[in-house]
């Protein structure tokens, strides 16, 4: 026996009342409330249904076969879809990637553009502060003594009046003193569901220092900074960052970032946060990276210490004259200067052509090492759970080798002083001709020591299918096109 639930009629009454309220008080931010509090509809529905069922049970009426029928679950799914969509387009969350959001936003209003322009004379080395910014900013150092801002502000709103109001609320300001310029976009002042984003180009004196605070509100904005000799500091909830030719120290604190790309930095780089790809090239200062990055990490030609700390991997190197590439499950390095330390849970490791000491500790990883240049230095490798270890040594190497596996084969094709002792499930290789200690140990896996041939190709990172990784070129933020002169409303 099925009885109609109370919820459907109540939902209809509630929705009717809400929309009626909106018609009577047009200023009521109905969609705002709905976007935020819609999950309580689900709770209300569940509680009502639960009450009904318990009531039926208490009055000895037969239960329905299921508490919520298939059709009602369909309605729940629809409600969730609408709720989450609303929540996302109102800018509360980042459930969908940006590209879907733009499509969603189009359903809820139009976009209105307003021009932005301003300038301020400054000293030669001003500190430029950009406050609570959302959108794309392109900052370029020039031989000048002024800060000049051009661009446009895009406001999404249901009507022109709302957009005009938001434009006034989020008025653009450029203030401060010649040494301390403040660029304020006031986007967070535009309340309600209207979203404001800006595309601006800021020309600054070459000696300027940049400090930018991104205000994401679920939206991603990119910072693109070129030719600045001062320090660069960016904090943002969600931004891609591209830096080129920066003279001072760089500090990036990004809660989310799809890409961080830095080329030709004279100072240090300090990067914190979570994100996707990192691409660093020609950095003269020390590099420190702390956070979780799920994309491809590439380091080329870093001339001071490099320290990477992730949730499962820690890596330190004295210098990287060559390159390191780290897709999610792999570590490949070529031409590194030690001391090198690498701790990882499960990245497979391949390192070729390294000097000075090397220390690798892994839980479960295949490791392939090719020191390349002589004389060798101390090498210490240990896989705590399992993994194959391969060491390819130049023919004239001097070393004191101890290589063992707890369970697995040992294979020596180097010969010379190396003696193989396969006993029980595992085995050990030992041999010394008066060089540094090479200690290799795997708990389970194959242990191989072989002679490296001088013309082996450098190691390349691989994913599961053996394909070569390649990051597609990331297009920079395009220059802001000029805006047609604004016509005065008639």
């Amino acid at each position: 026996m099925r009885r109609a639930s109370l919820f459907a009629p109540l939902l209809l009454i509630g929705l009717g009342a809400l929309f009626l309220a909106r018609n009577v008080y047009p200023d009521l931010r109905l969609l705002d409330y709905l976007a935020k509090y819609w999950p309580f509809l689900l709770i209300l529905w569940g509680v009502l249904r639960l009450g009904e069922i318990l009531y039926w049970g208490a009055t000895r009426q037969p239960f329905p076969r299921t508490g919520i029928s298939g059709g009602e679950w369909g309605l729940v799914v629809l409600l969730c879809f609408i709720g989450v969509t609303l929540h996302t387009v109102m800018g509360f969350s980042t459930w969908f990637p940006n590209r879907f959001r733009l499509g969603g936003l189009d359903m809820f209003g139009e976009s209105f553009d307003y021009p932005i322009a301003g300038n301020k004379p400054t000293s030669k080395t001003p500190h430029v502060l950009i406050e609570s910014f959302s959108g794309n900013a392109r900052i370029i150092g020039m031989d000048s003594q002024e800060v000049k801002v051009t661009g446009r502000k895009t406001i999404r709103s249901l009507d022109q009046n709302g957009a005009d109001r938001a434009n006034e609320e989020a008025a653009f300001e450029i203030t401060g003193s010649p040494d301390q310029v403040v660029i304020r976009t006031n986007q967070n002042r535009a309340g309600g569901p209207r979203s404001v984003s800006e595309e601006i180009e800021i020309l600054v004196p070459k000696g300027a220092s940049i400090e930018a605070h991104g205000e994401a509100r679920g939206r991603s904005g990119d910072f693109d900074i070129h030719d600045v000799d001062g320090t660069v500091t960016i904090t943002s909830d969600n931004s891609g960052v591209r830096l080129e030719n920066i003279g001072g120290e760089t500090r990036l604190d990004l809660r989310t970032s799809d890409i961080v790309r830095a080329v030709n930095l004279k100072g240090s780089l300090d990067l914190k946060g979570r994100g996707g790809d990192i691409d660093l090239e020609n950095i003269s200062g020390p590099v420190s990276i702390n956070g979780f990055y799920s994309g491809m990490l590439q380091f080329h030609n870093l001339s001071k210490t490099v320290h990477f700390v992730g949730p499962q991997t820690e890596f330190f190197a004295e210098r990287i004259p060559g390159q390191v590439r780290m897709p999610l499950n792999d570590f490949t390095g070529t031409n590194l200067v030690g001391p090198i330390r690498l701790t990882t849970r499960s990245r497979d490791v391949q390192i070729s052509d390294f000097t000075n000491s090397l220390e690798i500790s892994a839980d479960r990883a295949d490791i392939e090492l090719r020191p390349g240049t002589l004389p060798l230095s101390k090498i210490d490798v240990h896989t705590r759970i399992a993994g194959d270890i391969t060491l390819a040594l130049p023919a004239a190497s001097k070393f004191n080798l101890t290589a063992s596996t707890g369970a697995g084969e040992v294979e020596d094709s180097f010969g010379g002083p190396v003696k193989v002792d396969q006993s029980g499930r595992g085995g050990t290789m030992r041999g010394s001709n008066g060089g540094p200690e090479l200690n290799l140990r795997t708990e389970r896996g194959r242990m191989t020591v072989r002679t490296a041939s001088p013309d082996e190709p450098p190691l390349e990172p691989h994913d599961g299918e053996g394909r070569r990784f390649k990051i597609p070129g990331i297009p920079p933020v395009p220059p802001v096109p000029p805006l047609p002169p604004k016509t005065i409303d008639q």
Partner: protein, 67 residues
């Protein structure tokens, strides 16, 4: 079997079975509300749905075998 009462007891487990849907719905609502209002993302809390569903199914079994 004696003469059945005019309104028999519902079969064991039926209460739990009927209550599973609403409980899941309430859990879903609470998790989404936490996501929208607080800092706990639904992406982290969704396994609670599985736990609630599993617990309900378990209670259903326990109810129907012990009576």
């Amino acid at each position: 079997m004696n003469t059945p009462p005019p309104l028999p007891d519902p079969p064991p487990g039926a209460l739990m079975r009927a209550v599973t849907g609403p409980l899941l719905l309430i859990t879903l609502g609470v998790l989404l509300a936490m996501d929208h209002l607080g800092q706990v993302s639904f992406g982290r809390t969704w396994p609670a749905l599985l736990i609630v569903f599993g617990a309900c199914k378990l209670m259903e079994r326990v109810g129907s075998t012990s009576v």
